[in-house]
Amino acid sequence: MTSDAEWAVILLSIRVAAGAVALSLVPGIAAGWLLARWDHPLRALVQGLVMLPLVLPPVVTGYLLLFVLGRSRPFGQAWHAWTGGHIAYTTTACVIAAAVVGFPLLVEAIRLSMLGVDRRLEQISRSLGRGPLDTFFRVTLPLSLPGVASGAVLAFARALGEFGATIVLAGNVAGETRTIPVAVYTLLNVRDGEAAAMRLVAVSVALALAALLASFWLSARKRSA
């Protein structure tokens, strides 16, 4: 059955995916709202930048992140001087890589559900005395919660599967950065690793499926509520 090492991999993956969603949720809501409601020529450019990780090879995304966050880079050095720690090749790096790669899925789900909110409801809210921020928290956000939830679940599932950017930015450190995909890749490269790899693959499929079912359930529940 599943060994302690395998359990450590699974738990790390879940922790990393949850951390990635937590890290990207607020910026994701802000970006989704901006892209749904901001009428400006620059919007297309911003949208392109947000969507970029979806089409870039994850390895390239990882390299770009390493270029900024790497231990010998100015930001990495400043971070070290400030906190005494490092980002690259740590669990934090896994979280950042997973967050960046899942970000477009999160933003797109939020953007679409905010586009679906009747703008006239926001106008009524303003005319009833609620300012733009109040209107956002009392009307726009509550009405787009199904989109926020399904975007978060999709980003979570995507984070579980993240490999390319993770391997570049976070490497393959057992117990610290060895998530399920990295572990599967490692196991496939060692003699007799295939059985363990298959177990992780099964867990991976189960987690992904559970996440998708949760997203369907969430949106169905929201509709009937």
Binding site: D118, R120, I124, R126, S127, L128, G129, G131, P132, T135
Partner: protein, 357 residues
Amino acid sequence: MLEVTLAHHFSDFSLELELASRGPALGIFGASGSGKTTLLHAIAGLFRPEQGRIAVAERVVFARPGGVWVPPERRRLALVTQDPLLFPHRSVRGNLAFAPGAGERLDAPAGRRILEVLRIAPLLERRIDNLSGGERQRVAIGRALLADPSLLLLDEPTSALDAELSRDVLGLLMQVKQTLQVPMIFVTHRASELLALADDCAVLEAGRVVAQGLPVEVLKRPRALGLASLVGVDNLLRVPVVGHDESGGVTLLGLGSGVTLAAPLCGAAIGSPVEVGFYADEVLICLEKPAGISARNALACDVVAIDRVGHEVLVGLQIGETRIRARITPAAARELALETGRRVVALVKTSAIHRLD
């Protein structure tokens, strides 16, 4: 109450108007596309015109040039639209308590009074998807009143409702005006609403104010009258007095070809034209002239048009040289086997006929 000058050019339409009104209820009347909703949105602060100045209750809320822009939430003008636009994620109470301070107002005597006038107290704990169309609109009006606005803005508040409900909501708005003393600006394309509710009215046509004054004065002008019969469904007639029957309490109006209409007794000189109006649903249609009825008007006429509008049928009737409309249900139209060219009798009670001038 209101002073507006504004100019704005859209690609296919331009708005250029000047309007001042002392209210307390200003009706803005016009066909669709005349710019009435745009004007209301400019007053509400939901639309920023290229140029102009808007002052509401002596306070300038917009001036360009001049750089004055008060955002909608600080104008204290609550908007009610044709579509009630209740917040779907909140209960009736949640909707009513939406505006800042509305939650406390709801439980205070003034709030109770609003609920009572609008008959929404029994609905408080309901979910909004269980409300009927009329109930929704009442909640929307209550939500706006509980925001404690200095002025209520109403954008065709009854036009999404059927005839009976729209008269009910109109009655409530009249009470809001009289007993709650809330000034209002409302947009409508129904002459009957203007007559019932407005103290002052402005007629908009293609983005310009073409007439302004007392509703009865404005509706009297042929141009406005033409507009009313174009877009409204009610009967507005300009016909001469042909005789008075003082003991019978009626004044006879000539409809042409010797046919007369009995209206309530008035003092207009014989031969002078008067304007009268009556609702299309005050007209009954019979296949034969009934015996022994109280209605003074049983007029032989020809069916000249049958238009189905939603759950209603509008029947055009030619009486002498005058054309009127009756509003009946599709079931009634079926049962009477109405078709154009058919000879029928139109019944109109004298008391249903209102003089407009």
